[in-house]
């Protein structure tokens, strides 16, 4: 009966019920949209890893891995020294040039469990093809290829497999033959490591796609010395990069839910204020407090479930829009599966249940113990510092810091309000403004939680804006530096050679630069090695002020991080030492990069010299040109070289910046949703405050305060709330921006973004926050009761 009465109460207060519904629905919308986008992208990222390697969790590496090393490790494994390693197998994974194309050669032991899985897969038999004749007679010498290599003649093709373009998979011996290696050489020993936390991480990945990127599990303690452990993600940086992006977005998606929780608390406080006299009478009549609490929370849960169902539908629609905004060329497939439905309902129910219960406890004056109050900052502060200082904490550590700092700021709201209230008698200004500003800080219990919600939303908006703005500024500067050529041409090496010879004598061409490039493994890690003419003009593109000598190397920030190298350190390549003379920024790179003087890797002309440092030749991959009239040159060359791909740098720059902005559209949308939910929270808090102020309003009316002055007071109240929120939100936002630029970005992507405190990035969220708070103060919808007595 009490529940029925409460349901009637919700229906009779449609405005606040609607606001609560909207807030929770927006919170759910945010997490549903993020989940659907993330899950879809995660599936695509998984496709970047050849399925033959996906079964391995880690790769053991050392200089010159041999078959003997593998058998030694295997013997130790069989003796039980690596109890959490479930499988172990030899492995080759290298990139080379075969028949003029760059090919990734993967060698697996076909008789190992993972090899057997490869044979059991649904491969498409090749009906006809150059190398197809010996399928039945010499199966073990055959290879599995993706569709792009159907014309490969170097080995018989057994079947077509689903793998990234340019992938060849074969038995260990076949791979060694294709690479020109001896029968003793291996790349790695692949293992399947089953951590006791693996199930937890797997469930986490289902709930929060990208979760695993924040919690990498490493079997370091079990691996004998002399071996380095590489994770599957380190082997496939493109996939790892994408998963890190997802982890960032998923973490941000939780923000709106957190703010929605604050909102529900605020609504519950508002409702309880009106219901409390009824509850007290019911308690006098013999109804237990816990029954009243259960009934109250049940009414909120009902609202939460309805909001969750709506949030699912709106979230899916938002996901489609955002997905198409970020990836316009792909049609999204975003199914609402059991995980996302469960997550939406669980989130809404948790938010409503916890918010309602907490508000009820507060209404009963069940205070949190002073020890707990003291414990909160005592725990949060070290967590924030550790997450930032300890690189080993990884991406999850960075976000732990963000969460800890944010909660610490939220915890500080009440003490801050109390401190401001003590100062408030000295506030200057007109009396009605003074009155309203004091109201903004006078009621910590009523306003504290809504203020915390607004603070978190604005601070996140500031942090993300600073990061995006700083990133865009660095990215733009890098583009200006890097895109110093007018025209870039890519395509087959033979065609590029031909064109290069022709352009050398072309008077319209002021500068011609050729690039050779291949993906090689250095210290077991995949790296893009680029070689070209490294004169002063070329080096200026990387911020290095002089020509690069043949014994010098430029490395990207990611490579420096992966190889643990700094300026002046030596990098050994095939027993030749190169001095690191510059570490350059390379936003957007998914693979670490090294720049070498072409004289270090090829001899005069086009012939590869095996005596120089790299064991494999670097194929010519692109030409860059500066010309007097690049557009006219482009038109002429396009006619003569139809097989090559031509791009004007101006177009690349526009495209790059467009892609950048599209990438962050999701982030902006999530922050805006959180800000909207926070504004609703402030509105509800202000409405609750007004319920307390009826008598005061009568007094003000009696002394002749007019409507315009009341509107001014409402505005001042909202603005006051906004200003108080900004006092915490601005420093918190700058801190979050710093953590995102200097901690999260390097750990997730290998880039350091130089934090720039631009006025626009800082002030835009502040102005939005102030406007939202002022609007919350000004809007007086719903009841406007005449409380004058009849006496």
């Amino acid at each position: 009966m009490i529940l029925l009465a409460l349901a009637r109460f919700l229906l009779r207060t449609p405005w606040s019920t609607g606001m609560a519904f909207l807030g929770v629905m927006l919170g759910v919308t945010s997490i549903v949209a993020v989940h659907l986008i993330s899950a879809s992208i995660a599936t695509q990222l998984d496709d970047l890893i050849p399925s033959q390697l996906a079964g391995y969790s880690h790769f053991l590496h050392r200089a010159d891995v041999t078959a003997e090393d593998y058998f030694d490790l295997r013997r130790q494994w069989r003796e039980g020294r690596f109890p959490d390693v479930e499988e172990m197998a030899p492995l080759i994974d290298e990139t080379t040039v075969i028949e003029g194309s760059e090919v990734r050669v993967v060698g697996v032991d076909l008789l190992s469990p993972l090899g057997m899985r490869l044979l059991a897969q649904d491969n498409e038999p090749v009906e006809a093809g150059v190398g197809n004749a010996s399928i039945s007679t010499d199966f073990w010498r055959g290879v599995w290829v993706d569709e792009s290599l159907l014309s490969l003649a170097a080995a018989p093709i057994n079947a077509v497999i689903n793998a990234p373009p340019g992938t060849v998979v074969g038995d260990i011996g076949v791979a060694q033959d294709l690479l020109g290696w001896s029968a003793d050489e291996l790349s790695y020993v692949g293992i399947v490591y089953q951590s006791r936390w693996q199930d937890v991480v797997d469930i986490g990945e289902h709930i929060l796609p990208g979760f695993a990127a924040g919690f990498p599990l490493q079997p370091v303690s079990q691996i004998p010395s002399g071996w380095s452990v590489l994770s599957l993600s380190a082997q496939h940086p493109a996939s790892s990069f994408g998963k890190s992006v997802l982890f960032n977005i998923s973490a941000l998606g939780l923000l709106a839910l957190l703010v929605a929780w604050f909102l529900i608390y605020q609504v519950a406080v508002s409702w309880l204020r009106r219901l409390w006299p009824v509850f007290e009478r019911l308690h006098v009549l013999g109804v237990q407090w816990h029954n009243l609490q259960l009934t109250f929370v049940a009414a909120l849960l009902l609202l939460g479930v309805l909001a969750a169902l709506s949030g699912l539908l709106v979230g899916r629609a938002l996901a489609v829009v955002l997905y198409q905004l970020a990836l316009p060329v792909q049609a999204p497939e975003l199914p609402l599966n059991a995980w996302v439905i469960g997550k939406a309902i669980f989130s809404a129910v948790s938010v409503c249940g916890l918010g309602g219960s907490w508000a009820f406890r507060q209404a009963r004056n069940v205070s949190t113990g002073s020890v707990v109050k003291f414990l909160v900052p005592a725990l949060l502060l070290p967590a924030a510092v550790l997450g930032v200082m300890s690189d080993g904490a990884g991406l999850a550590g960075g976000f732990l810091s963000i969460a800890a700092v944010s909660l610490l700021a939220a915890w500080m709201v009440r003490p801050l309000l109390n401190a401001l209230a003590r100062y408030s008698p000295r506030l200057p200004g007109p009396i009605l403004v003074r009155l309203s500003l004091r109201e903004a800080i006078w009621y910590p219990r009523d306003m504290g939680v809504a203020l915390a919600g607004l603070i978190l939303a604005v601070a996140t908006a500031i942090g993300v804006s600073l990061m995006v703005d700083s990133f865009r500024s660095d990215f733009d500067r890098m583009l200006v530096q890097r895109l110093s050529y007018d025209l870039v041409i890519e395509g087959r090496a033979q065609d590029l050679h031909r064109l290069e010879l022709e352009l050398r004598d072309d008077s319209a061409v002021r500068r011609l630069q050729s690039y050779r490039q291949a993906q090689l493994r250095i210290a077991g890690l995949p790296m893009q090695v680029v070689a070209g003419r490294t004169d002063a003009a070329e080096m200026a593109r990387y911020g290095y002020p002089q020509p690069l000598a043949t014994n010098e190397v430029l490395i990207s920030e990611q490579a420096a991080r992966a190889l643990d190298l700094g300026m002046g350190d030596k990098l050994d390549l095939n027993e030749s030492a190169f001095t690191v003379v510059k570490i350059f920024t390379s936003f957007g790179d998914v693979t670490p990069r090294l720049i070498l003087n072409e004289q270090a890797v090829v001899v005069q002309g086009e012939v590869f010299n095996p005596e120089v440092v790299l064991a494999n030749p670097l194929p010519l991959v692109s030409l860059s040109i500066n010309a007097d009239d690049s557009v006219a040159l482009l038109k002429q060359l396009e006619l003569d070289y139809g097989s090559l791909d031509f791009r004007l740098q101006k177009e690349i720059r526009t495209l790059a910046l467009e892609t950048f902005d599209q990438t962050f559209a999701i982030t902006t949308a999530l922050v805006l949703i959180a800000l909207l939910v926070a504004s609703i929270g402030i509105y509800i808090a202000v409405t609750a405050l007004r319920l307390n102020k009826k008598a005061q309003m009568n007094v003000l009316a009696a002394v002749g305060v007019n409507r315009l002055e009341i509107v001014g007071m409402d505005f001042a109240l909202g603005l006051g709330i906004g200003v108080v929120a900004m006092l915490v939100a601005v420093p918190l936002g700058v801190t979050l921006g710093w953590i995102l630029c200097d901690v999260i970005n390097p750990r997730a992507f290998g880039w350091t973004v130089t934090l720039q405190l631009s006025t626009a990035a800082l002030m835009t969220p502040v102005i939005w926050g102030l406007l939202a708070a002022s609007a919350a103060g000004l809007i007086r919808l719903g009841r406007r009761e005449n409380s004058m007595g009849r006496g």
Binding site: S424, P425, P430, I431, L432, R434, L435, R438, E439, W442, A695, Q696, N698, V699, L700, A701, A702, V703, G704, V705, N706, R707, E709, N786, M788, G789, R790, G791
Partner: protein
């Protein structure tokens, strides 16, 4: 003698769900300048409604409410809300039974509020003098939450008197106080109003308060005269 308040054939009713409640029916009242009037009657008889109508806080259904304040006649029933508010701000004082003070203003700010609204910053000293005279000299910078009920009502009376308004309205000003405090507040209200020559209308249940007024009328009588 000029009348401060002249009410003719005043009618006011409220709608409560499906039910219409006639609070004031054909009410007539004339109150000369400088007179004090006590209005008595049971709860719900319309005392507060009458005061709120004279203050311009509540509009009338029909009838005429005229006031003569600062040598000007005002037909309240013809004024819009803005004009009524302005009149109340400059020419009236009002004391409620409780919740008289703004909790986020100090005692002296509460008293100064009408002066500040009328841009009379010169009255700050007068506000402090009034508070001192009312026994609240040490409470200037205190906030209302720390005052006793009697102290709060004395602050409310001081606020109502600060501008020396020609018309002072009080709705059960002692209804929430013990006998000693009620006597003190009633004395401050009537003695100061008489000394300043203010016209006062007090709605009260208290015979002691009513006995201090020049006239005492019952709501029943006021309504009957019109019926």
């Amino acid at each position: 003698m000029t009348n401060t308040v002249i009410i003719k054939d005043l009618n006011k009713s409220y709608q409560d769900g499906q039910q219409r409640i006639d609070v004031l029916r054909g009410l007539h009242l004339e109150l000369p300048v400088g007179q004090t009037l006590a209005v008595m009657g049971p709860s719900g008889s319309g005392k507060s409604t009458l005061l709120n109508i004279i203050a311009g806080l509540v509009s009338v259904d029909s009838g005429a409410v005229n006031v003569h304040l600062n040598n000007q006649f005002y037909a309240l029933h013809q004024l819009d809300e803005r004009a009524r508010t302005q009149l109340r701000r400059s020419c009236m004082g009002y004391v409620y039974q409780f919740f008289n003070l703004v909790p986020t203003l100090t005692v002296v700010e509460n008293v100064s509020l009408p002066a500040r609204l009328n841009r009379r910053n010169d009255l700050d000293l007068r506000a402090r003098e009034l508070l001192a005279a009312f026994g609240l000299k040490d409470r200037h910078q205190a906030f209302p939450e720390v005052l006793s009920g009697g102290e709060q009502q004395r602050v409310a009376v001081a606020r109502a008197l600060l501008l020396e308004p020609p018309l002072l309205l009080a709705d059960e000003p002692t209804g929430n106080l013990d006998a000693a405090n009620a006597d003190q507040v009633a004395s401050l209200l009537f003695d100061n109003a008489r000394a300043l020559g203010l016209t006062v209308i007090v709605a009260t249940h208290s015979e002691e308060v009513a006995n201090r007024a020049d006239q005492c009328l019952h709501m029943h009588d006021l309504n009957q005269r019109g019926s």
